[in-house]
């Protein structure tokens, strides 16, 4: 691990002031950052410890919904009675990820900012445009079993590894931040992540020193069925090959509303309005579910060893829709 200086922030204001310098990182749970620092994939000059900040509460919002403090651990969020009752897909997604020890430490804000588990990002002996811009992508043409089939570029085919973020995307979460100049902003999760394009090293719209302080969820969808279906190489403690987060309401056999987000397929938790449009207002039939899968995968592109994800995503989506609609 490269040497760094350590500061413990006493307030959000001092954290963002400390955090604005180049080479500075915030640390909370540290479960991903320290792993990457040991491998010298992340080499910050300074760490700002934000664990003493008062960002660890889940509170009801006046306008409905909840505000989840950025420091709420994944375990506590998954077990919170309000989350279980109103946002079951979020509890299910959290419980499908990592291990008990990691969930106890990993935070809500940090989970959103997890780095990819691409083998080549992790191997400093190999080229990687995300880790070292301009060096090339060894995953294209390499072993890419776990990597993306949607939203890729010629520079990068990494996947975002989070389960939690997929549920957050289906729930229309809003990321609340504080910027280095003290300004606060609210970013819809659909606008929070960036596609790799020519700059795969830039993964979100966060500015230097900008700190996630909370994630807000809108009022729950009345009468909705929730599902998080995760397909992976082993039954526990593994990243998703494909996952589906779904929140669906029915009117008889007709799909009234649907929110569907996908993990394991793209560089960000994936959501495509065309998928939902293929089933909303229509009968819950296999033909309509297949149309939804067609919409999801119209632009899907495999890179060899991950080709299997395209039919796997189709089958996983259709099975998820059957479960969500009772069809």
């Amino acid at each position: 691990m490269k040497q760094f200086t350590y500061e413990r922030a006493a307030s959000t204001e001092s954290a963002v002031a400390e955090g604005r310098g180049a080479g500075t990182k915030f640390i909370a749970g540290g479960t991903n950052l320290l792993d990457l620092m040991k491998l010298q994939i992340e080499t910050p000059d300074k760490l700002v410890d934000i664990t003493r900040l008062p960002l660890g509460e889940i509170t009801a919002r006046d306008e409905g919904g909840v505000s989840i403090g950025a420091l709420v651990p994944n375990s506590d969020l998954a077990a919170d009675p309000r989350i279980i009752a109103d946002y079951e897909v979020l509890s299910r997604a959290l419980l499908a990820g990592a291990s008990g020890q990691l969930r106890n430490k990993a935070t809500t804000g940090g989970n959103l900012l997890q780095r990819t588990r691409c083998y080549y990002f992790y191997d400093t002996a190999m080229p990687c445009n995300k880790r070292e811009p301009g060096t090339g992508c060894a995953a294209i043409g390499g072993v890419n079993r776990i990597l993306a089939v949607l939203g890729t570029s010629e520079k990068c085919i990494a996947t975002h590894p989070s389960d939690m973020a997929v549920a957050m995307r289906a729930l229309d979460a809003t990321v609340v931040t504080q910027k280095a100049d003290g300004d606060r902003r609210r970013i819809a999760i659909g606008d929070f992540y960036r596609l790799p394009g020519d700059t795969p090293e830039i993964e979100t719209v966060l500015e230097p020193g900008e700190l996630i302080t909370a994630v807000e969820l809108p009022a729950p969808v009345e009468g909705a069925r929730h599902l998080y279906r995760k397909v992976r190489d082993r039954a526990s403690y593994a990243f998703a090959l494909v996952s589906v987060a779904g929140v669906v309401t029915m009117d008889g056999n007709t799909v009234k509303t649907a929110a569907l987000a996908f993990g394991g397929l793209g560089p960000m938790p994936w959501r495509d309005p065309a998928v939902e449009a293929a089933i909303v207002g229509k009968a819950a039939t296999t033909a309509n579910f297949e149309a939804a899968a067609d919409a999801l995968l119209a632009d899907a592109k495999g890179f060899g060893t991950n080709d299997f994800k395209i039919p796997l995503a189709r089958r996983t989506l259709i099975a998820s829709l059957r479960e969500l609609t009772g069809a």
């Binding site: 040497q3 760094f4 200086t5 540290g30 792993d35 509890s91 291990s99 020890q101 990691l102």
Partner: protein
Amino acid sequence: MQWTINGRTYEADVDVRTSLLDLAREHLGLTGSKKGCDHGQCGACTMLVNGRRVNSCLSLAVMHEDDEITTIEGLGQVGNLHPMQDAFVRHDGYQCGYCTPGQICSAVGMLDEVAKGWPSHVSADLTSADLNDDEISERMSGNLCRCAAYPNIVDAIREVAGIDNRQPVLATAKEIGA
């Protein structure tokens, strides 16, 4: 810097890069916690921080100055074993023993999570956390045992949890026609 580990205050001057695991093992002589992967994948380093199980390899010592830390040495000692240690011995819940301190700390933390009503990935109903063998396996998946002592580890945990719902895993020789 100063830490509270197993109810005792320790002081040491360590590099800011030092993990909680390395602090215990290399600076304080608490070598019960083990370093397996050093990346949070194996669970051998599991400690209890303010009663919660965590991977001590993925945490900086400097971030834990205000915390109550418990390592395997604090759970019990020879002649005064913690019930989980005692159950692991009697059920032969290990072979080489390297993962055992982490398994035991993790199991103690896990049963506390069950007592708080926390659900798991395999809980059909997220509002009830009844323990069974599938639940134990899922909740302990962050602790690997390369000797594969898993059946006996589950036996030990089941006994401490006070549940008797053993599911037969292996058919008898007679049943399989051997």
